[in-house]
């Protein structure tokens, strides 16, 4: 079946790029790259050729080896075999400095920002020699910030920025160094459509100025929108390079995984009348002031229902989830769970463990910070959050054997690709980590699942599996509170969508009719405000 693809406008610039395709000499050429990690061959005999001035996308499943390949090109890792040519000459990139000198810049999949340093410090770091640290640097920074839409005081700590701004800081960093070849490793994973559009706008205008881009994304529609060429990597090797104009998303996906393209669509409604979660006039004050991060939030989720919350990051979704989970203390309002027997349970004062025991499952938005113990084996991670419950525990004593067994079951059922359950969680690729988490949370037989960006940074194959599992659970009467920045996912899965803005639930949308664009406007408050050009 087809995905309801939002079809963003095709840029006129791409035709210009096409002209350059006739140019024979690639600006970057990777030949026979092989990179081994203990236990994993991340890249094996990879070939990649990028022509000057094009946007070259690299696609592949989680753990296919995209990031590794890019890190090799950026000098952060050394290939075990293979050669790298930049501008026609063989170069040896021993460290990022070499790469920067060769005109390569990289925006990493995970932000490479020092939270405790200011925006300016983050940008200048390592490039102090270019414009000094004084007024000239400031002027240059202002210009670039303008160009990328970064509207913050350069002296704010990065810690205080939202994701979109962090993304911009990353891009400013690259530009500040005068890179001509820019690697963007999954830059859109955390952005809303409008932000994505803005980013693409920037990319296109820079492309016109002669910049070359290497672009990584799991979102195939995006790839088709922006890329002039796509190279596909499967299990560490290049499968081939295609022109995105000539293939469909469907075909692309099949090249990546060899399976069918998934859809987040929910087939039939399973919503019942029975309320499971009721949140009433919830309020949360910021740590240091009386300013409300959550204000008067009232919602309810019914059994068999998926309630989607849309919102630009930083508008209180994280806080809502963490308050419902008991990780933050509500300043006012109540959170109640309703049992199958209709029994109302006020859980506002309970701790996180008690709420989990009451039947809440939790897929956290940041799996590294909130989901996993990266230096513990998989089976140990199975226990986290369930340390008081069968089968892994009898309340006070842990049962490692049972935990192992049950983890093996999850690995099996959820297709977690791992050599075994004694592997450290940190050694799995992100998608597989996510499958493990979903498996764990659904194993606790929750009545309510709180899923925060359940498929962020996860490839199409894993995405499909996670969606399928959630749908099945919903069918069995599970209530789901879904938060996602992926609007297709949100629209496809939810039975109801509420939009969150500045800590309030401002509007409601019907997933059957709403488009991602409309939702995006509602999320930015564009409906109620003067729109900025």
């Amino acid at each position: 079946m087809e995905v309801p693809l939002p079809h963003p406008h095709i840029s006129p610039c791409s035709s210009k790029a096409k002209e350059q395709m006739t140019e024979p000499e690639p600006v970057v050429e990777l030949t026979g790259i092989t990179k081994r990690f203990p236990g994993v061959v991340a890249n094996s005999d990879v070939h990649l050729a990028v022509r000057a001035g094009e946007v070259h996308a690299v696609c592949g499943e989680n753990g296919a080896g995209k990031s590794t390949l890019m890190k090799i090109l950026y000098g952060m890792q050394q290939p075990d075999e293979g050669t790298i040519k930049v501008g026609g000459e063989v170069v040896e990139l021993r460290n990022p400095q070499d790469a920067i000198k060769a005109g390569i810049g990289m925006v990493h999949q995970h932000f490479m920002l020092a939270d405790n340093l200011t925006v300016r410090e983050n940008v200048l770091l390592g490039a102090e020699g270019l414009h000094g640290m004084g007024r000239k640097a400031r002027a240059r920074l202002t210009t670039l910030a303008e160009q990328t839409g970064l509207h913050v005081d350069p002296d704010t700590l990065v810690e205080n920025l939202g994701v979109a701004d962090r993304q911009r800081v990353e891009i400013v960093k690259v530009l500040y160094r005068g890179a001509r070849i820019v690697i963007l490793d999954e830059p859109t994973a955390v952005l809303v459509p409008q932000e994505v559009d803005a980013l693409f706008e920037t990319i296109r205008s820079m492309q016109a100025d002669g910049y070359t881009f290497l672009f990584i994304s799991h979102k195939l529609d995006e790839v088709r929108t922006i890329a002039d060429e796509v190279t596909i990597i499967r299990r560490g090797t290049t499968v081939g390079t295609v022109d995105p104009a000539t293939v469909s998303s469907h075909e692309l996906a099949e090249m990546m995984v060899g399976s069918q393209l998934p859809s987040p669509e929910t087939r039939e409604s399973t919503v019942t009348d029975r309320e499971v979660l009721r949140v009433t006039e919830l309020r949360l004050d910021a740590e240091d002031s009386d300013r409300a991060v959550l204000d008067d939030v009232t919602l309810s989720v019914r059994a068999g229902e998926i309630l989607g919350i849309a919102g630009v990051e930083g508008n209180g979704q994280t806080e809502l989830v963490e308050t419902v989970m008991g990780m933050r203390k509500a300043s006012a309002g109540t959170v109640e769970l309703i049992g199958e027997d209709g029994q109302l349970r006020d859980i506002t004062r309970l701790g996180t463990l008690a709420r989990r025991e009451a039947g809440i499952g939790y897929i956290a938005e940041d799996r590294h910070r909130h989901g996993l113990l990266l230096r513990q084996p998989l089976w140990s991670n199975r226990i986290l959050g369930y340390q008081t419950r069968k089968p892994v525990s009898n309340g006070h004593l842990i049962d490692p054997a049972a935990a192992r067994e049950d983890t093996e079951r999850i690995v099996e059922e959820y297709d977690v690709r791992t050599p075994g359950v004694d592997v450290l969680a940190g050694a799995l690729s992100g998608g597989n980590q996510q499958k493990l988490i979903v498996g764990r949370e659904l194993s606790g037989e929750p009545t309510l699942l709180i899923a925060s960006h359940p498929t962020r940074g996860v490839d199409v194959g894993a995405q499909a599996l996670i969606w399928e599992q959630m749908r099945q659970a919903r069918h069995n009467g599970l209530a789901v509170l879904l938060i996602s920045a992926d609007l297709d996912e949100l629209i496809g899965l939810s039975d109801t969508i509420r939009v969150m803005l500045r800590g309030r639930l401002v509007s409601e949308a019907d997933p059957a009719t709403v488009t991602p664009q409309e939702l995006g406007s509602a999320m930015t408050g564009a409906g109620t405000q003067e729109e900025a050009a």
């Binding site: 990690f37 203990p38 236990g39 513990q376 006070h396």
Partner: protein, 364 residues
């Protein structure tokens, strides 16, 4: 998943390396290294040195356990030193003041000691949890303050007694003592060894099998992930600090109840700091700590034995320092060698397309 090579090779390498290094020092100061090492080894054979080594190791073991519990939760309890001394003096005073039937008397003293140790850890724990004050500062300060408290309590005007030029607490009655395990001429091992072993087992069991131990480790590794899993970091910090303090409270007990029966102005200090080193040397593992404690105690003993050769005792200190450092360096070297070997294996496996096993990748 114990890999004996990675577990045992590093300490062996480290010992060899530190022997080499101290040989150089010995040669410079004009001593014969072979004779020195011979003396060190031979000391275990005669007299009660072997037993005395074990006895001191028991004390170090307790100190190591106390420190390790803190480390599990990422709490750096430098305060073990202050906690054990505070507990020792309080337990000695209370123990001497009481008349109770044998076993009960001992139990009460131990409970008092653990309680006092925990009490002395309470302030840094509370300040850390509720005021965000680093436990490193507060425990450093409390380690000094304990001098004043001990001096105050042990003063003949308060609870102390004067004998000769020394002051100490009053003697604990025989009912409050723990009989040793006599080994004939070789000496008497502290009866406390049984309790220490039980504690070591308890520690292992707690970490491996109990919910509490799991929560402690989880919170120590990632407070945020643990919080999402329903583990309160505050509670765990408090618990780790208090338990660490309670175990620290026992450190002085083998000697107090098995040998001295009083706590004196001249009673040994510094066990707490040794505990930190021993815990780190044993990588917070109960068996590793036991090994570290024995090694440490052996080197302490050697310092005295070497004196008879006219070798300055600081050689032993230098050896202790180099061993701590080289053990961990050796772990790293072995780890890297393993990694390289594995990469080669993966390389071979990669060509056949069959997946290789993933490394443990444990950090030192």
């Amino acid at each position: 998943m114990i890999n004996w090579r990675t577990a045992l090779l590093p300490p062996a390498l480290a010992i060899v390396f530190s022997m080499l290094l101290s040989s150089v020092a010995l040669l410079i100061s004009g001593a014969n290294p072979l004779e020195a090492f011979g003396t060190m080894a031979a000391q275990l054979l005669h007299g009660n040195t072997a037993v005395a080594t074990v006895n001191l190791a028991i004390v170090y073991y307790l100190a190591g356990l106390a420190a390790a519990i803190g480390f599990q939760m990422n709490v750096f309890n430098i305060g073990v030193e202050g906690q054990y001394r505070f507990a020792a003096v309080v337990a000695a005073i209370v123990g001497a003041a009481m008349k109770l039937p044998p076993v009960l008397h001992v139990i009460v003293i131990l409970v008092v000691a653990m309680f006092s140790g925990a009490l002395y850890a309470l302030l840094p724990a509370l300040l850390k949890v509720y005021r965000g004050v680093s436990e490193v500062i507060t425990t450093i300060m409390l380690n000094s303050i304990v001098f004043g408290i001990v001096a105050f309590l042990i003063n003949p005007e308060q609870f102390g007694v004067l004998h000769g030029n020394n002051v100490s607490t009053e003697q604990i009655a025989p009912s409050g003592r723990i009989p040793g395990i006599p080994l004939g001429d070789a000496g008497t091992v502290f009866g406390f060894v049984v309790i220490a072993a039980a504690l070591g087992y308890g520690y292992w069991f707690m970490l491996r099998r109990t919910r509490f131990g799991f929560e402690l480790k989880a919170s120590g590794e990632s407070a945020t992930a643990a919080a999402a899993g329903g583990v309160s970091a505050k509670k765990m910090t408090l618990a780790a600090m208090l338990i660490s303090g309670a175990v620290a409270g026992l450190i002085a007990m083998p000697e107090l109840l098995g040998r001295d029966y009083v706590y004196a102005m001249t009673s040994t200090q510094g066990y707490g700091f040794t505990g930190l080193a021993v815990a780190l040397l044993g990588r917070n593992h109960p068996a590793g700590i036991a090994f570290g404690a024995l090694l440490w105690s052996f080197l302490d003993r050697s310092a005295v034995s070497l004196e008879s050769l006219g070798i300055p005792s600081e050689i032993a200190t230098i050896m202790q320092g180099t061993i701590v450092l080289s053990v961990v360096v050796a772990y790293e070297i072995v780890r890297r060698a393993d990694l390289a070997a594995q990469q080669r294996r993966v390389g071979r496996a990669g060509r056949n397309g069959s997946p290789a096993t993933v490394a443990e990748g444990g950090a030192v």
